[in-house]
């Protein structure tokens, strides 16, 4: 059954994988886990603070899982995205795809990841040794430049 939701804690991948196995039907189960990087642009990352617009973020994750699970030769899709304060090495996103063959499983997992990045209202504040940055799509804006907009009001 396709699932998708925002979570705070880590996911038990063994349990999820076991639930998704379809003996006799599936030939592949791809598990993608994203992690917080320790270095970005040559700067040490201290923490990533993820936030989401709820309940719409969970609804969108579930919608993506349902849509992608209807793909040809796809058997099941599960997506979990963490929010909160995460440290380098902490898992951030889990994508599990079971399919008839590995090609379909890999390509579906990659498409799901790209859709998450574009479509789901999840936001990331990157706290680095050289300051805090809002990550927006492919760009970063230093937090003081945005909150500086606030100081101009006062």
């Amino acid at each position: 059954m396709p699932l998708g939701r925002i979570v705070r804690e880590e996911i038990d991948l063994s349990k999820e994988s076991a639930e998704m196995l379809t003996p006799g039907a599936g030939g592949a189960l791809v598990v993608f886990v994203g992690f917080v990087k320790g270095v970005v642009d040559g700067k040490e990352v201290k923490e990533l603070e993820y936030s989401s617009y709820d309940p719409y973020a969970s609804e969108k994750l579930k919608e993506i899982a349902q849509e992608e699970s209807r793909g040809e030769k796809v058997l099941d899709v599960r997506i979990y995205h963490r929010v909160g304060r995460l440290k380098p090495g902490d898992p951030t996103v889990y994508i599990l795809v079971s399919a008839v063959n590995r090609g379909i499983a890999f390509s579906t997992a990659q498409r799901v990841l790209e859709r998450i990045k574009r479509e789901v209202p999840i936001f990331k504040l990157e706290k680095r040794e050289d300051g805090e940055y809002w990550v927006m799509g492919q760009t970063r804006i230093r937090r003081t430049e945005v909150s500086g907009e606030l100081s101009k009001q006062i």
Binding site: G34, Y50, S51, S52, Y53, P55, Y56, E59, H81, T92, V93, L113, I116, K117, R118, E119, V120, P121, I122, F123, K124, L125, W134, V135, M136, G137, T139, I141, R143, E145, V146, S147, E149, L150, K152, Q153
Partner: protein, 87 residues
């Protein structure tokens, strides 16, 4: 039916920094067009107007992206959202 409605405004991510708050409530005329509501938001929160010059902002009504001509009705929650960055 009431002529005036109270709309809940959500500022997401960097836009909360720009607004100085993460949410607010505005009383507006029922059926106000979204572009006019956004203009009112920018008048009340000038930091948001300045931030919009740098940040592409999507306006959601009850979680769905709407056009500037969308008419806002009762029980609306309007969210100003920068580009997503999940993953």
């Amino acid at each position: 039916m009431c002529e005036m409605i109270e709309v809940r405004i959500r500022f997401l991510s960097a836009l909360a920094d720009a607004a100085g708050v993460s949410e607010a409530r505005l009383r507006v005329r029922r059926g106000v067009k979204l572009k006019d509501l956004v203009h009112e938001i920018e008048v009340k929160f000038p930091g948001v107007m300045r931030a919009r010059r740098r940040i592409p902002v999507t306006v959601l009504v009850n979680g769905t992206a709407r056009s500037p001509l969308f008419e806002v009705d009762c029980d609306a929650e309007v969210a100003l959202m920068p580009p997503a960055s999940g993953g």
